[in-house]
Symmetry: C2
Subunit: 269 residues, 2 copies
């Protein structure tokens, strides 16, 4: 990452004394010391309202809710809290999404950050010169990087390639592919901190070091490479063409890199 | 389903004039006419607070947030709105979760229903006589059925087995496996209503009929069969044993039924 990189760090954790908050403060300081501009948004501390509702589209017209959201975006009448977050996203090179895994997804307060901020006309529903909607590998947020930092009570194996909870990359498909890739962002491999309830003073230092090591390569590490909609691999109805990985199913068929676990590639099909 | 079946229908949609609300009213009436007891919870209409916070564990003790949530559950000091929803879940045979697919997951208001209602000591963290935690095929909600009803702007193919958005069963893994199966509930195949923005007066009748047809088999249709933690297929660290589907990855390896698309089984490995 260049020294002028602009980073938005969004954290959702209800406990300001949590391990997550310690790592968050450490990480933000580390990035600033390295010369990056960092905006940080603590959703619990700021009392973020996560409920997307008709209140977000007051005065906007359109037949469907999505149409009204689009109209509010393009006529610049979104609520001030949403507009401010959109500016922060627009100004960033990298967005860090930091949360505890609750029911194998984001806490509601964070899910609702995406619901309200990633509006039609801003993050998606944006068209190219030919009038085609830019999505899946292109979109309103094209080129920005997205790094999930995830804390989990599960042990690491349970969220590994054959773990009972599902591989963390697959579990986070809605964020990595359905949100980041869909809007043109480059999803980075999740930074997973497992067994959080077993972390003691003796292991905290290792976790902090692993995190800063990860942050140091934020701008240069290769993102997960999903197939793009316009790359020729999909049919007009958005099905993977029969000749591409014929007969196979599962999320892996949508990746151009065969695995995000380099050491395990030989185990993967 | 027996005529005495008790059903909880939870809907999250910000637009009371939406297709979803029409289908919801139609479905609830249909179930009642068939003799079922139905409790319905409209999260937007009731102004549900989806943010799990320290306010939910006031007066409870414990080192971690999860410990305090457990203590509040067992000492019966959860907020009244949460306690009421827990009673509705406890009294139900089937829980219907009805929502529009936003960023390939639930709207925040619904995600926060799970975050706040499915507490430690109620839905999970419950132990058997031997002191083992009941989870993945067993848990605090064992035996209840869970049916997701999902509306999506995507066309059907995009959410099919080889669709760019991912198979809807895989996309909803956090709900079907990570939440339902994890707490002992029996997940039913999602009832997907795709291309919702293209539905007109001419096609509404077909959608309503497909829904009531589905509701008529709610109590008898076979649920998705995921492997249970105690069934012998997993190691002590919750990894699938090497001899079970050796070398394979992806969510499919955790299913006992090879597919939820009977007509496509021959295509699946």
């Amino acid at each position: 990452m260049t020294s002028s990189g602009s980073i938005l760090w969004v954290i959702a954790n209800p406990d300001p004394h949590s391990l997550s908050h310690s790592l968050y403060r450490h990480g933000v300081e580390h990035l600033r010391a390295a010369g990056h501009r960092v905006h940080d948004v603590d959703l619990y501390a700021t009392g973020w309202n996560p409920v997307l509702s008709e209140a977000d589209t007051l005065g906007a017209s359109g037949a469907t809710f999505s149409d009204r959201q689009r109209h509010a975006t393009t006529q610049d009448t979104l609520p001030a809290d949403v507009a401010r977050q959109q500016r922060l996203v627009a100004e960033s090179d990298t967005v860090i999404i930091h949360f505890p895994l609750w029911w194998y997804g984001m806490p509601a307060i964070l899910k609702g950050w995406f619901d309200r901020v990633f509006t039609n006309g801003f993050a998606f529903g944006v068209r190219d010169r030919d009038g085609k909607v830019r999505k899946y590998g292109d979109g309103g947020l094209a080129g920005r990087r997205l790094l999930p930092i995830v804390t989990a009570g599960d042990r690491a194996d349970a969220l590994g390639p054959r773990g009972i909870s599902g591989d963390i990359d697959d579990v986070l498909w809605p964020l990595l592919h359905g949100t980041a890739h869909y809007t043109g962002m480059l999803p980075l491999r999740p930074h997973l901190i497992s067994s959080v309830n077993q972390v003691g003073a003796d292991t905290y230092g290792d976790l902090a070091e692993a995190l800063t090591g990860r942050l140091d390569t934020l701008g240069t590490e290769p993102p997960i490479r999903y197939r793009s909609l316009r790359g020729g691999d999909y049919t007009a109805t958005h099905d993977l063409r029969p000749q591409v990985r014929p007969g196979e199913h599962g999320f892996a068929i949508h990746r151009l890199d065969s695995s995000n676990h380099p050491g395990l590639q030989h185990l993967r099909r």
